[in-house]
Amino acid sequence: MKQSPNNIFDNIWKPLDEPCMGKIVICTGTGCVASGSLKVLDKFVEEIKKAGFEVAQNFTEAKESEKPDSTVRLSKSGCQGFCQMGPLVTVMPDDILYTKVKPEDVAEIVQETLCNKRVIERLLYKDPVNKTPCQGQQEIVFYKRQSRFVLKMCGELDPESVEEYIERGGYDAAKKAYIDMTDEQVCKMILDSGLRGRGGGGFPTGRKWDLTRIQPGDKKYVICNGDEGDPGAFMDRSVMEGNPHSVIEGIMIAARAVGADEAYVYVRMEYPLAVKRLRKAVVDAEAKGVLGKNIFGSGKNLICHVMEGAGAFVCGEETALISSIEGKRGMPSPKPPFPAQKGLHGKPTVINNVETLATIPLIVNLGVEKFRQIGNESSPGTKTFALSGHVANTGLIEVPLGISLREIIYDIGGGVTDKNGVIGTDGFKIVQIGGPSGGCLTEQHLDIALDFDSLKKIGAMIGSGGLVVMNKHTCMVSVAHYFMQFTQNESCGKCVLCREGTKQMLHLLEDIMSGEATAQTLELLEQLARVVQKGSLCGLGKTAPNPVLSTLRHFRSEYEAHVFDKRCPAGQCKKLLVPEIDPLKCKGCTLCARKCPVDAITGERGKVHTIDPEKCIKCGACVAACKFEAVVGV
């Protein structure tokens, strides 16, 4: 019988010894900042002072506070995942989580909760099903069913405080790796842990390290791939912004394992906050003597550069990323040689993604055996996912690998919503997993284990971890088209099949969506998709046809309806819709006829109107005008 993962994690982090009378944690992840959490923070400073207390804005201030009994510790945290409910404010030590907090709520929180220890019920999250208010993370289903391992500290720690990180046991793992272990032992530990790359492919991290370790030569590099680019994915950003030191520590251990003395963190250009915090983390870690020269007295050095990406999706592909760091255009090159053999500047290089590296210190601290108790045999550990689409709860989640989709969608996600955003019972159609390179999972897959191998078997992949839930009103051809458009725009243009193939697949999909397709279109689309998949140069091209191929596999009839019946079953493809006025709803008010710019609508006042589909240009003016929702198919 496996232990509940959450018990396993409990002892990784040391408790924080802060002498203050209270602590308020405000989420300053990008989502909460966008919904105004910084204004809330300012208001807290103001209101706490007004109430006669002192404010400690960081760990050191709190520690050195002369009047701890009347000092309130205000802490900014990284993303807590429940972005949809932001700004999030947690009042400690009772762990009361307030959601959608506005500056005007702050005075009340200070007065009621901080001073009078009373809970303000209206600011609590209410369970969407049974409507009961939930006091903290332990009561909220969204959090309760997760296993927050890598993300755990993102919601607690001040990401800009190296002191706090160290106080909670940070850099102990690095110290252990540098002082107590040999490079071979570190590689073996990670290999034994069964950790697999979280960036997409699921390659065993330990094996990658060992391949790099055994390469001859003194100069080796570690690269942290923070060029997260899938639409809707923000797992790595949250880790880099919320717990940057864990990434640096992971890099240090990787460097120790492979014998590297130089490292790069390649961060997506669109993540300025992550860049800023990582840069600060490097400077602070160097100042604390944990990074730089003669690490922990081991005689080993590590220089760590934080570099902004070049702004292209394809730079997340490892060979393209390497050329981008070298100052060249980010274009993939053929493998072999693999980066482990000939990487950055022709030297052996290990590239891991952010989440993988952030998991490393935890494994070193926890030990192989305990780590393997999380997740399943083939895929130990946890995985973060960005859950979005037609579900009640969206946001960043972390779950043990091997969990079922059903648990994610119906428990953590709170169920599938219909087109009005209300939880329905029969709404689920697919989950798009792994972003534009991934595939779709349907109802029949709801109970399979979400791990690297099971997904591979059914032609999908975890990818970087995007999960987009879609309900029955989603057209599968449009979904394939959406992702194809993305890969086409982001293709680096190097190899023929990806550059021209994605363009032509897009055209073929457009033909299907506009009713211009024939049986040959479908045949050609499938043939082309197969060729692009087999023949492309890099991962981007090889996986670009996945959305097409997987929707074709599971929803062929939907494609056929477009092609042969010129009908979009989900009612989404505009060009296939036939404009109609519902005779039961039409009141004959004539408004639509008067608004129609092409005189396509006729009918007498008080009588049911009709639209001439030949004349109609589907501008939508009638739909906007009709007060009775009688116009459909426009």
Binding site: A312, V314, R329, M331, S333, P334, K335, P336, Q488, N489, E490, S491, C492, G493, K494, C495, V496, L497, R499, E500, G501, T502, K503, Q504, H507, Q520, L524, Q527, L528, V531, K534, G535, S536, L537
Partner: protein
């Protein structure tokens, strides 16, 4: 003993002999795997996906990107591979301007060829090509983006072999294109016009600009006397356009054809190559004995000259002052022929047939145009001549050879080998040896300087003195060599540089060849031609002697200097590129300041100067009256950082100096 290793290609045993990849092994086994982006002289790119084969246990792999392993079992012709290749070519065709009949590369186009070979009768995909404007800005090359298949051969050729990088990829997705820097036209960037990009282009996206119709016009004009010179490398290559093996010498047929086309006199550039040997050899002796910039670089290659002007202006004095054989011919012809042929200067039309594209650029250099009359009016490439012959219906292969006209058609073997890398050096050595020893009885061949290595060195001892020579081909190699000279790791006396791999025989004006040994065969043929001639040393050319007596005076003398020598100047790499740098910059400011951020000035601190200057101006009371822009090159590289304030150039600029100048100009 090592056991010999083999692979099995479609069941046939094929030996591995250290080939760089599986593709080469398969090709040696007589299976012509199609490729667009693979060139043995360039790095492996892996983009066209045409070379994919099925390796047992690995599935489909790009054969250019894997090394052959012993006992690999490879299939090159499965249904899957045929489908992939066909789709790849169809995809390219769907995004390609299909104006094949009027394309210069029709019949030598790889895309066309593969379409035919794969039996593509219909493109099933929608045409997606958008019409883009042609770049016809230069007198040398035409860039037609509509025909580009983005294989990157040109990009790699320019950066890897020539060390320049005048063109590169820009944009993403369906907007990807190959462009010069900042999207400018070729004549505004650092292109040296060697044309090697066009030589490797599989389609008609990069071609030499044709001057055939201009030449026809002159030939049709009865008032004009049209004379022509043929460069050495042309004679061993033009036959390839008429079904002959590379390296077939067809000098006599060329003369016959040119006469039939209407040229009044047919001469040989080898004659002025002989002249170059004497002038350049003499110059070398002068430099050694009287002191002058050493090492001496050859200056026959116009792309190399432009390269030095752009990147190594500090070595301009090391370039031989001798004009190239083409230009010597031009000025000698203009001096001698009006009288000899009874024609007015303006009615004498001088045409060159060259293996080279950069010669088109050279002929238009201001140094070689006097009173609006260029010494050489038109330069045609070997390909263009071939096309003229074809369009006239002349059966080239059946022509009876004819002789070149005298006196400018008489040459020695020394002039002929100019077309090979190492040829100029060898010819000069043949001169120097005799000049310095007085001995005429020596073997005329100097095998030390022959070969195909990119950088070759030879120590030649004459009369106890040892001269260190270097022979370089490919500008990338030239760059390596100069950097080595600069950092003191090597020292030379005489250095020959030819831009094109193999020398002129590998020029971009030569016929398109798919024979991997074409260059080797052409080289061999030139050395053979040398052997076949009676005379092998330039100084033995009787007509050269006569020419000095009647027209040029003394070797290296005043007239010779005026007609046969020149001097080159430093040259901007990029034109009309400026970037506004003042935040919130408004137009129409009173005073413009331009800071050069080119390499030379950058190395002398222009970047820091720029930052300091902007800060300083922002804190001054004239902030809204001056505008600061970054620009490239005022051609005063040795005095950098250079800043232009208004109309005035400030050399070795400092913030203080510029401030003074700004204040002085504003107070006017």
């Amino acid at each position: 003993m090592n056991k010999k290793a083999y692979i099995y290609v479609d069941g046939i045993k094929a030996p591995i002999n250290g080939e760089r990849n599986l593709l080469e092994v398969i090709r040696k086994a007589n299976i012509d795997i199609p490729t667009f982006c693979y060139h043995s002289e360039l790095s492996v790119y892996g983009a066209c996906r045409m070379c994919m084969v099925d390796v047992e246990g690995q599935g489909l792999v790009a054969s250019c990107s894997v090394v052959a392993q012993p006992d690999m079992k490879v299939k090159t012709n499965t249904a899957e591979i045929r489908e992939l290749r066909k789709i790849a070519v169809e995809l390219l065709l769907a995004n390609h301007e299909q104006s094949c009949p009027t394309c210069k590369r029709s019949s030598t186009c790889k895309l066309q060829d593969l379409g035919r070979r794969l039996g593509i009768e219909k493109v099933r995909f929608k045409p997606v090509n958008k019409q883009q404007p042609l770049d016809e800005s230069s007198n040398v090359l035409v860039r037609d983006p509509n025909k580009c298949i983005l294989c990157g051969d040109c990009v790699r050729m320019c950066s890897e072999v020539q060390g320049i990088g005048a063109i590169d990829f820009a944009y993403r997705g369906h907007d990807v294109s190959v462009l010069p820097a900042f999207g400018k036209n070729l004549d505004k960037v650092e292109c040296v016009y060697c044309g090697q990009c066009a030589r490797v282009c599989p389609t008609g996206a990069l071609t030499a600009k044709s001057h055939v119709s201009e030449v026809w016009k002159k030939l049709d004009d009865t008032k004009k006397k049209v004379i022509v010179q043929i460069a050495p490398a042309v004679r061993v290559a033009i036959g390839e356009m008429f079904g002959k093996e590379a390296g077939t010498v067809s000098t006599g047929q060329i003369v016959a054809a040119l006469k039939m086309l209407g040229f009044d006199r047919v001469y040989d550039t080898c004659f002025t190559a002989d002249l170059t040997v004497i002038e350049e050899g003499n110059e070398f002796i002068q430099r050694v004995t009287k002191g002058g910039a050493m090492p001496q670089f050859t200056s026959c290659c116009p792309a190399w000259v432009k390269f030095v002007e752009q990147y190594y202006p500090e070595y301009l004095d090391n370039l031989s002052t001798c004009r190239s054989p083409q230009q010597m011919f031009g000025s000698v012809a203009r001096k001698m022929l009006p009288e000899e042929l009874h024609v007015e200067q303006e009615d004498l039309v001088v045409v060159s047939i060259m293996p080279c594209t950069a010669k088109k650029f050279e002929s238009r250099r201001h140094e070689f145009v006097r009173e609006d009359i260029p010494d050489v009016d038109y330069v045609l490439t070997t390909q263009e001549l071939g096309q003229m012959i074809k369009s006239s219906g002349i059966k080239f292969s059946n022509l009876q050879p004819e002789s070149l006209d005298l006196p400018l058609g008489f040459k020695t073997g020394a002039g002929v080998i100019f077309g090979n890398t190492g040829g100029v050096s060898e010819a000069v050595l043949r001169f120097l040896h005799e000049k310095l020893t007085g001995n005429t009885q020596y073997s005329f061949e100097f095998h030390e300087v022959r070969g195909t290595e990119g950088i070759r060195e030879a120590n030649i001892t004459i009369e106890g003195a040892t001269y260190k020579l270097a022979v370089v081909h490919g500008l990338g190699n030239a760059r390596t060599l100069i950097e080595n000279i600069k950092n003191g790791s090597c020292e030379y006396d005489l250095i020959e540089v030819m831009s094109c791999p193999g020398g002129c025989i590998g020029g971009a004006g030569q016929p398109i060849s798919f024979d991997p040994d074409a260059r080797k065969k052409r080289t061999k043929a030139l050395y053979e031609a040398d052997k076949m001639l009676q005379l092998h040393k330039s100084q033995e050319n009787p007509y050269i002697k006569k020419c000095y007596d009647t027209h040029l005076g003394e070797v290296g003398g005043e007239i010779a200097h005026k007609l046969l020598h020149t001097h080159y100047q430093s040259r901007k790499r990029i034109h009309d590129a400026e970037f506004s740098l003042m935040p919130g910059s408004k137009p129409n400011k009173q005073l413009d300041i331009r800071v050069c951020v080119g390499t030379s000035c950058y190395l002398r601190g222009s970047q820091d100067l720029l930052h300091a200057l902007i800060m300083d101006i922002q804190n001054s009371d004239y902030e809204d009256r001056v505008d600061v822009k970054a620009t490239f090159c005022f051609e005063k590289c040795s005095e950098g950082p250079v800043v232009r304030v208004g109309e005035k150039l400030v050399a070795q600029a400092t913030v203080e100096k510029i401030k003074q100048e700004i204040e002085a100009q504003l107070s006017k």
